[in-house]
């Protein structure tokens, strides 16, 4: 695999990057850091993004011989959770099967919250939407009854196991990129090409495995950004403040314009950060962005994750995502600076990113990377003039 292996006579040679990926994946024990470095620049279409993400997220063991046992054990573990928390839930038992009406409004002590939980998830799932752009086929996958049921159980089990957070609207969106990547991988297809025909050939067992994998992967991601979704959403507030601060440093005219018009990015960009860009970018762009965010976290986990690791949030889904959001806002800066409060607010809540491709995302990621380096080397760049209270709202405007 090393270097330029002899290419198959008829097929064109694999691109260099793909070869390096294959080499990194082909070893007995994967070097997570080396893989993360490669994945930072995107996972090539020829490779299994699912496998790469799972390795980087720390779900799939790095050592090959441990893999099948470990995955089998984790899947069993999830199915057990599903039995005890979902299937045995009085709320679920009392409700008609997914998709046909709502659970009853009242129940016994302590179980009411599960009724409410189930009802909310069932309200939100049918209206989980991909950002305009992907094919109708992909939307049909999301609407598919079996997929809806799968998402319901994953979200329900996660919520019950995380009472400090529970289900928050928008987590259904967060689940989408993972789910579509995992699903398509079952037939070695790129995530954008999943369709109902693919679902039709997936047996219950295979789907149950996807469900378990999906659960553990989303759990990994959310554990890094847990306080984005807890009471008062401190993590999201932190990101909003940092975002404003970064923009002030890199695009002062835009920052001044936003301020003069009374536009507060904490609020306008709230959905960007809460849904991890799923609502703002077409699926292909979103998974490309996630390649980098997942890789960024994996890189950091090798190095300084330790005693103090927790309070600075996720290196990928928080720190780097802030820089990405800043670059996205700055990308539109010339247009934004021509807009008044109203036009700008409407513009920001419906960004014209529907036509974005991987190229645009990669350009923005490149800029985000530069910013990260810049601010990391001189942290005082990010020091706001006033004290930066960690506390609740009352942001600038």
């Amino acid at each position: 695999m090393e270097g330029h292996g002899p290419a198959a006579p008829s097929a064109p040679p694999r691109p260099r990057r793909t070869q390096r990926f294959e080499a990194a994946l082909g070893v007995e024990t994967v070097d997570r850091k080396a893989l993360a470095e490669l994945a930072w620049c995107g996972v090539p279409a020829e490779l299994s993004r699912c496998e790469v993400w799972q390795l980087l997220l720390g779900y799939r063991p790095l050592t090959r011989e441990r893999r099948s046992d470990a995955l089998a054990r984790k899947r069993e573990e999830y199915w057990e959770l599903r039995r005890t928390l979902y299937e045995a839930s009085r709320a679920v038992a009392a409700a008609a099967p997914a998709g046909s009406g709502e659970p009853p409004a009242r129940g016994h002590t302590g179980r009411d919250s599960e009724d409410v939980l189930l009802r909310q998830i069932r309200k939100d799932l049918p209206r989980t939407k991909l950002r305009a752009g992907p094919s109708e086929a992909l939307s049909a996958v999301v609407r598919d009854e079996r997929v809806q049921g799968l998402m319901e159980r994953v979200l329900f089990v996660w919520a019950v196991r995380q009472p400090a957070c529970s289900y928050v609207q928008g987590l259904n969106d967060v689940l989408l990129p993972l789910l579509l990547v995992l699903l398509a991988d079952r037939r070695a297809r790129p995530e954008g090409t999943a369709d109902v025909a693919l679902l039709a050939v997936l047996g219950e067992e295979e789907l149950a495995e996807v469900e378990a994998d999906c659960y553990w992967c989303v759990t990994k991601i959310l554990s890094e950004i847990f306080d984005h979704y807890t009471h008062g959403q401190p993590g999201i507030q932190r990101m909003g403040h940092r975002l404003s601060e970064v923009i002030r440093r890199i695009d002062a005219p835009l920052a001044r314009h936003l301020e003069s018009q009374g536009v507060d990015l904490l609020h306008t960009a709230f959905r960007w950060t809460t849904c991890l860009m799923v609502r703002e970018l077409p699926l292909g762009c979103c998974v490309r962005l996630w390649d980098t965010l997942i890789a960024e976290s994996a890189l950091a986990s090798g190095t300084q994750r330790g005693a103090a690791g927790d309070d600075c949030g996720s290196p990928g889904f928080e720190a780097l995502l802030v820089y990405f959001c800043a670059c996205l806002a700055v990308y539109f800066s010339p247009r934004l600076r021509e807009m008044d409060f109203e036009v700008m607010t409407l513009f920001l809540q419906k960004l014209p990113t529907g036509g974005f491709g991987e190229h645009e995302v990669e350009v923005l990621l490149g800029e985000a990377y530069v910013l990260k380096q810049l601010f990391q080397e001189s942290p005082s760049h990010l020091q706001p003039e006033g004290a930066v209270g960690s506390g609740l709202p009352r942001p600038g405007a």
Binding site: R127, Q169, Q233, L266, H267, T345, Q349, L392
Partner: protein
């Protein structure tokens, strides 16, 4: 949505109420004359605007903030109540819990919005109750009584059939105008019989609880 339309007043309005009572649908019906093409749960806040002529008082531009109904988003959404002069407090006529929570929502508004905020209570999904009366969980009289006790305006509406949608928004805007012109003592505009604002009547929530459900 053109920036050049002229107006006499600019009012900030918020749409509040439990998740999935139909706030976004009401707004879409009012602004676009249609239901959202791809309905999704509102995350945080969403903004829309419309300029309308009042029956009395000229033209008003309404800046309307549609808020996420889920409890978790309260920290973000309540920051938007600031300087709001009007609110549509929405519940679902087919779900009693969404009505009993209205007392809580009023408390939120009182704490965060302008003290003399004008509130319109809206029982949405009237079409469902009409189609199948046994689905109705909140009776008109109970809601009207709750509104009367708390100084709210009240109507039932349906975003799906458009029933009363224009009315609830524009009645609210008119009342805000009436209220503010009265406050400034500029004119004695015709007062609605129930034109009482919530802020002046602080501690009435015991009364509402008994009516809820």
């Amino acid at each position: 949505m053109a920036a050049d339309d002229a107006y006499d007043h600019l009012y900030k309005i918020v749409l509040v109420g439990d998740a999935t009572v139909g706030k976004t649908h009401l707004l879409s019906r009012y602004i676009k004359g249609d239901l959202p093409r791809a309905p999704t749960a509102t995350i945080g806040v969403e903004f829309a605007t419309r300029t309308v002529p009042l029956a009395v008082g000229g033209t008003v531009k309404a800046q309307i903030w549609d808020t996420a109904g889920q409890e978790r988003y309260r920290a973000i959404t309540s920051a938007h109540y600031r300087r709001a002069v009007g609110a549509l407090l929405v519940y679902d006529v087919t779900k009693s819990s969404t009505f009993s929570n209205c007392a809580k929502w009023m408390e939120e508004l009182r704490q965060n919005a302008e003290p003399d905020i004008v509130i319109m209570l809206v029982g949405n999904k009237f079409d469902l109750a009409e189609k199948n009366p046994s689905d109705r969980q909140v009776y008109y009289d109970a809601a009207a009584e709750f509104a009367r006790q708390n100084g709210l305006f009240f109507a039932e509406a349906s975003a799906v059939t458009a029933y009363n949608v224009k009315h609830v928004f524009e009645h609210l805007l008119q009342e805000i105008y009436n209220q503010s012109s009265k406050g400034r003592g500029r004119e004695d505009s015709a007062q609605s019989p129930s034109g009482i604002t919530v802020g002046e009547r602080g501690g009435q929530k015991q009364g509402c609880d008994s009516n809820a459900c």
